[in-house]
Structures are given as structure tokens and as C-alpha cells.
Amino acid sequence: MSKQYEIPIGAQHISLLEPLHFKFTTENEKVVRTDANVYYVHRGIEKACCTKFKFRQVSFVVGRVCGLCSISHTTAYSQVAEKLVKIEIPKRAKYLRMLVIELDRIHSHLLCLSHVAENSGFEALFMKTMQYREFAMELLEAVCGNRIQYDFSIVGGVARDLKPLVANSIIARLKTFMPQLDELVDIYSNNWTLSLKNKGAGVITKETAMRLNVVGPFARSAGLAIDVRNDTEDLLPWKEVGFEMITDTAGDVYARNMVRLRELYVSIRIIQNVINGLPEGELVTETKAFPDGEAVVRLEAPRGELFYYAKGNKTQMLERLKIKAPTFSNIAGMVEAFEGNEYGSVPAIIASYDPCLSCTAR
């Protein structure tokens, strides 16, 4: 029984994007216990969505729940609101939503990968990944008019149309991105020191994943095949644009990187299919109805399953809006997967969870 250090990480720490606080109890730099305090970012959005904003404005507010998956939040909210006002949106709007969601997934996954590289002390790879990521940001800016907060989905459809020029540029940039992605895959899988750092770190088994109900790449890396795109056909037609499930078995940081990288290929294929098969038609379905009844919506955000529950009462204001973010489901798994790891690899593990606490705390 050697001396136990208590190492705090956060709330402000260079390897953290956002304020979360972990307290690691370590024995000669081996983590034996973890305490997490993740609700630094709680702003009270659910309450404000029911009392402060009309249900059409809420789609812009929930976009600000999280800057990384804002399109997922706006889309999920728009879908649940459309269920409440009982309208069917045009097919073109559905396709455009899928396009932006996948572009957002590309930039989010690349950001997470670069963050893993940075936190495992590989600065050059961080720089390289960020450099390759810029194309996704530029495309998103061209499509939605802003680099981060897209405000693309509104209740009843999408806010902007896709110009043919932009569509062509997307196809062209994806072509140039392909070899870069191959290069990244090569580095992430073959670099010796990186695999030394990442293999066997932060392992979660399939049984644990099932027991703790984790979602997203965190669960898929452990072999638990959970992806909402696989089973919500009614809202967004994922299957017909060529979605396929990506899983791995190891469940460590390395496996998570690999899952994310392979999902990028899927996203690229989806984007190409969407643009090639983009149907003509309206962008927005107008309606004067007020939300009524209750509805739930699940959507696959870059980090996993996003869940919206809404209840309306025939007025401008919603009765209740419940947001369940992906990271919210992963907290229990995150805390458990730290046990028995080197403290040195803890930042890399945190980054590989891709935690989004502004989603979690709302």
C-alpha cells in the first residue's frame, strides 16, 4: 500500500476544452479511484425552452446546447416539434439535413482524433489532423453560412438551400480529402509510440458497455452495435444513402480511433450519395398549428444517441422539453473505464471519450 496522491484535473486544464472536474486517486501514477464533477456547464436550457422561448425559437436555442453537434440538436428538436405539430417535411429537406449532419460528423470526429493525438503528446499529428479538418469547416461555412452554429434545421424544414456550385465543391473537396484520410489512418494505426500509448488504455468490455448503457463510438469500439441511424427509418432515410454499422472489439483508445476513422469513410459515402440523389422540391412545410401531445425522437449525433422528449399544450410554449445527450449516457462508463490506467494516459483517455459536457449539463 503505497502513498496515494489525489490528482485533480480541471476545471481549467490545458487538455480540457470545457470545464469538467475529475479527481483521480492514484498510487504511483496508477488510477485507483475517480470522482467526476461534470455539471459545470449547467445553464438551465430546458426550463428556458419551456418558459422563455416560443417553440419556433427553441430550435435556435438548443443549437447552442453544444457547438460540436449543434446540427444534431437542432435537427432532433425540429423533428420532435414536427411530430408535435403533425407535419411531414419535404424529402429535399431530409436529404439536406443528412448532408449537414454527416459533414458535422466529419469535423467532430477529426477534432476528437486530433485532440487524442494532442493529449497523448503527439503535437505534429494534432496539427496535421486540424489542418485536414479545415476543409469540413469551410464546406459547412459555405453550406450553412457559419463555421460552427449552423442554425440549418428549422421547424418544418431547413433554412437554406444548397447551391449547385457548393454541391460541386463538396464533391471535389471530398475527393482531395480521401488520400489525406488514408494518410491519417496510416499514422493512427501504424505509429509505434502512439499505439504504445493508446493500446490497452481505457478499456471497456462489451459486457460493461451493455451493463452501463453506453452509446456512440465508445460503445461501438467495444463491439456493442448501437447506432440510431440503423433503426430510425421514418425520420431520416439513412439506409437508402448507404449507412453501415462500424464496430470494433478491443474497446480501448486505439479501437475508438479506428472506429472514428472508419466512420469517416461511411460519412463520406453518405454525403456523396446524398448529393448525387438530391431530390428537387420545397424546403419548408409551413404550418400554423401549435404543438400538442407528446413525442420522442432519437438521432445519432457524432458522440452517440441523442434523445428528445417534448410535450406540448396547444400554446406557443412547450410544456416540457427533455434533452438526453450522448455523453450523459457515457458518464457511468467513463468513470469506470479509468480504473487501473497510468495517469500519464488519462488525458488521452478523456479525449478519446470525446466528452461533450455542455450537451450533458445543458
Partner: protein, 113 residues
Amino acid sequence: MNKIETNLATLRDDIRSFYNPAMHHFIVMNAVDLGQQMEVQWFFSNYAPPGDITTFYALVNPDEMIPSIREIVPSAWVAEAELVDLMNISIENTSKGFVLEPDFESGPLRKGK
């Protein structure tokens, strides 16, 4: 989404008889303030497509003690701790202060707050 009505007495048995870790995914726990009463909901979904959602809901009074399901679903403690703070309800062996500050008047999502 199929809703199953239950009450606090039989809640644990219902969920235990329903929940199978290999098949079902516990999504989240939610509560809606209906004025006098409160509707507490537990959302589950299937892993196998089409992942249809099963909801257990119970109508409780705000001062009632709600049984915790964390020995059936270990990861439920996050949702329970959050709900205790946000809705100012009481759940077995769950303490306040996970989401909000200790000095904060709890239950911001209740009606009339």
C-alpha cells in the same frame, strides 16, 4: 412508443421483469410536472432494429419517495441524481447537489418557479 403504466409499489418488479441488459438500452429518466401530480417516466429502447421505445410511467405526488432502479440498471444513478436536483423530488439514496449548487433553491423545473 408504447407506454406502460405502473406505480411506485410494483415499479421495481415491472422493470426487473422487463429489462434485459443484452436486449434493452436504458435511455433516460424523466419527470413532467402536471400541477398537483408529477409524471415520472423511464425510457428504454431495443438494441435490435427497429429500436422501438418502451416507456414506464407512474403518477406520483411531489413529496413521495421514488424507488431507485440502480440495482437493476447500474447507470441510472446519473439520471436520478439529475432529476432530484432539477425537479426537487426525492429518490432513494440519492442526494442533492449533483447538478446545482448546494445553496441553490432546488426544483427549477417545477411549475411556478
